[in-house]
Symmetry: C2
Subunit: 409 residues, 2 copies
């Protein structure tokens, strides 16, 4: 055995304001250290049942199958794609960012017949383009990204939903950066498979992927001609564990699911509409501050995600150096751009527990200082003033009330 330095790396405290993971509520940390329990323990099965009750309203789902896949958001993405598609199935992939393209890659691994509509990164998919494609050919499935984590774009869903219905295509939706922070209405939109992750607006550490399938999707999976290419992500196997049959499939992680249950309880205690308002309000305050500092947002106002803000990096700024400075001096972790936006934007997350007035108020001086270090001057007092005006008295009160709640937890 090699000689080993046995010291554990100390876990540092960060303020997480990137694309995820985000900070989690103290009650979620408590849940994480709950005693481990067996995956067939009657008490634990009730925990899974509670998750199965509390999660559907967050998706806007009644009926179908809803629970959390045992992996990160990408496992949920692959579960959705691999269960719905068989070799040769025609699928229309709407890609207006990195994650739309990831769906394409997964669909190709199913040997589906893939057509891609690409939109500019920073814009949503244009429904007219979708309709043009649907007129040309019959598609089994349309895939689209509700909240594109690489660009900060929110996809308006009404037209896409109408088209899917009109042309009788199924709909697959990525809500990785929106579920729990923005209203999702899978029933109203006719979404057949929709997945997310645990570490963003839901508010737990990474490791689970909330997912929902419509009754129609469940039927499609039941009647497949070929086996799902992934045993691990096969809905027809895993739903026998989630459902009343309780047939062993994988060893469900009580640690992660206790945390998920606690996070869902926090969501329902807060109230969905109140939670969405909080995300929107803090987003508006952040944008006001950022723009008052003289910085620009990547996305047009009507398509901005309230959960993930993409800020254009001013010319002459060294991106990596600036983010390292924020991490070292302020313990503040924001995200860089990636793919074709690498070095061009920062991604500032305000999701779940991290969507708070005090995070916005912390970010403005920190970024102002970090820019100044590289010679770019901003008007900090204008920035803070804009934030405070947006937050107004209520915003500050809400932050204070939240702080009290935490103290009492």
């Amino acid at each position: 055995m090699p000689e080993l330095n046995l010291q554990r790396q100390e876990a540092p405290l960060r303020r997480l304001m990137g694309p995820g993971p985000l900070d989690v509520h103290p009650r979620v940390y408590k849940a994480l250290s709950s005693p481990v329990i067996g995956y067939m323990d009657p008490v634990y099965l009730k925990v899974l049942d509670r998750i199965g009750e509390l999660l559907p309203p967050v998706f806007g789902r009644t009926g179908g199958i809803t629970n959390a896949m045992p992996g990160t958001g990408s496992s949920g993405m692959e579960a959705a794609v691999a269960n719905l598609l068989e070799p040769g199935d025609p699928v229309l992939v709407c890609a207006h960012g990195y994650f739309g393209d990831r769906v394409r890659q997964m669909a190709e691994r199913q040997e589906a017949e893939v057509t891609v509509i690409e939109a500019e990164w920073g814009k949503p998919t244009d429904p007219q383009q979708v309709e043009a494609e649907l007129k040309k050919k019959s598609y089994k499935l349309i895939t689209i990204v509700h909240a594109e984590t690489s660009t900060g774009v929110l996809q308006p869903m009404d037209d896409i939903a109408r088209l899917a219905r009109e042309y009788d295509a199924m709909l697959l939706l990525d809500t990785v950066s929106s579920l729990g922070g923005i209203e999702i209405k899978v029933d109203d939109w006719g979404v057949d498979a929709c997945f997310s992750c645990s570490q963003k607006c839901i508010g737990t550490p990474p490791g689970l992927s909330p997912i929902t399938f419509s009754d129609r999707a469940v039927e499609i999976v039941k009647n497949r001609k070929s086996a799902v290419r992934s045993w691990y992500l096969d809905l027809s196997l895993i739903e026998k564990y989630w459902g009343a049959d309780r047939v062993y499939h994988h060893t469900s992680s009580s640690t992660l699911n206790y945390a998920l249950l606690e996070a869902l309880l926090l969501i329902h205690e807060e109230g969905l509409q109140e939670r969405f308002s909080r995300h929107y309000k803090n987003h508006k305050a952040l944008v006001a501050g950022v723009e008052a500092l003289g910085l620009k947002m990547l996305v047009d106002p009507q398509y901005r995600l309230p959960t993930l803000n993409t800020v254009v990096i001013p010319e002459g700024i060294d991106d990596l150096k600036l983010r390292r400075y924020l991490l070292d001096k302020f313990k503040l972790d924001i995200g860089g751009g990636f793919g074709r936006l690498a070095g061009k934007v920062w991604r500032v997350g305000l999701m779940g527990y991290s969507s708070s007035a005090d995070n916005v108020l912390f970010f403005i001086p920190a970024i102002s200082r970090a820019l100044a270090v590289q010679g770019v001057k901003t008007d900090l007092s204008a920035g803070l003033d804009a934030v405070l005006t947006e937050l107004d008295g209520n915003g500050i009160d809400a932050a204070a009330a939240e702080a009290q709640k935490i103290a009492a937890a």
Copy 2:
């Protein structure tokens, strides 16, 4: 939104002595509540590097690629199968239990050309049968289960390893119930892909799957003709995140990996050989006690797993009722049999932190009482006497020393 009862299900305390998950060390619980951190944070990348250093010796690996897949043990199984096999590849699946058969199912989903050798449940695979198959046909891959979780059988590896070399086949090994509790020598055995889980002898909650690929396996994956059917489990993508490139693949769970690092430090502090001895000693004590009570083990002595003990259920005993009694009265969770051993055996795990003298000493009176309730009398004093004789003075001292360590943690 439906009306919800918002009370969180209280997490009960169990003594976990089933097939897993098992109890975890207090230091691992502490690690679980470490502050969440970003998957690209320089400190967190060091955590992943430390895991990449500490895990290979547990597998007996130098070279290749070793880390933990972001899913349960079955995700590691599928990663091993899906990366090494392409459609049409001839694979010899040795199935002497439920999990050997699961490998077969996964291989079929790759459309590999699958040949199965089935052995009786409770026996290992016979190398002569393997050789007979290898003489008939050339195989790309042999798959076998080192520690069959469904039967409690330990597969002797020397002959299988020799045959794989002799007939130039790759080797895939399931060590889900052995890694960290029994010596694994993947380099010596010429194992190309070997996977396990986090919640058994390694000693963390479920959610990760330690896995190792040989240099030869890495080459095979690089030179595949077709894409790996699972994007999520594609080694060529995930190793770009594990390795020096640090290309984003999935959002690695700092919570689970902090816990894994802590568990690996515990393993290396204890010493591998000392750890294997502890597992063996407690197993011997349990078997002595069980047999002195008049119960029978399923597996012949030379093939018994020291980590998972399969005890034959005496005639006239209601299995479910007995296990429910243990859970209700003793908070003791042991496993039932499944597949063709359902209702025929109990599976008593002594793995990782749960492999302790005090668990053995607790189990004997508990099972004796549970049998008595159903009218089966056992000689409890003979049972305990046998355990104490096996443990001898050193065993008890070790348990006491361990208890002191925990108190000091």
